[in-house]
Point group: C2
Chain length 129, copies 2
């Protein structure tokens, strides 16, 4: 397969696939004309990466996950720990964003949103509380 085929079959942009080769996540062969030549296993890896990235794992996490996946003697505890750490980061981000949303929501609620200059949002930002 050429890169266009893997791209459409994996859903990943060609740029992303080249980048993943660049950082050593995949190692496709080359055809005589210099084109990348992907096997089914490469496609499988790319799909794996796409799903892991969609769950928010970092590239380095993905590298570790792939290594675990390929290691038949892995302990599921190692996978679970990585997932739990990632889950904790997600929870933290959610909490941060919710705090922003709550504060901002309150400010928006108090703002008339008309043609007058008086505005509690700016008032809060400027520190006049």
């Amino acid at each position: 397969m050429n890169i266009g085929d893997v791209s459409s079959r994996s859903g990943l942009p060609a740029k992303t696939i080249r980048y993943y080769e660049d950082i050593g996540l995949i190692k496709p062969h080359r055809s005589a004309n210099g084109y990348r030549c992907f096997a089914e296993t490469d496609l499988h890896k790319l799909a794996f990466l796409g799903r892991a990235r969609a769950l928010g794992f970092t590239i380095e996490d993905c590298r570790t996950l792939m290594a675990l996946y390929e290691d038949e003697s892995r302990a599921s505890a190692d996978v679970k720990q990585l997932a739990l750490e990632h889950l904790a980061k997600i929870e933290e981000k959610i909490a941060d964003l919710q705090a922003m949303r709550d504060t901002l929501g309150e400010l928006v609620k108090g703002c008339a949103g008309d043609s007058r200059p008086d505005c509690p949002i700016l008032k809060d930002l400027s520190g006049e509380v």
Copy 2:
């Protein structure tokens, strides 16, 4: 005030303050020795920026917000619109993260986390569903 003073009084790192000058958000004067020389109004602006950034506004949003703040004839509707758009982005991010959390949470729940290799997390990532 020197940059160290504004840094501790605003809570922003000196690096960040220099960066804000670089991109034109503030324009402190200079002393004879070349040091930045901050007035109270600069400190006030930096505090404004710090609060806006803490609410997740982008730098460009902050630029707009500051301009609105300094424009006495602004309409609060403009501020409110900016805030509402930002709020919508926050909501979207929260929803994305919650979807990740839910999926990942399910996978983690199903993983024994022991010394055996069998792992539903890797199974899901590899597409064997």
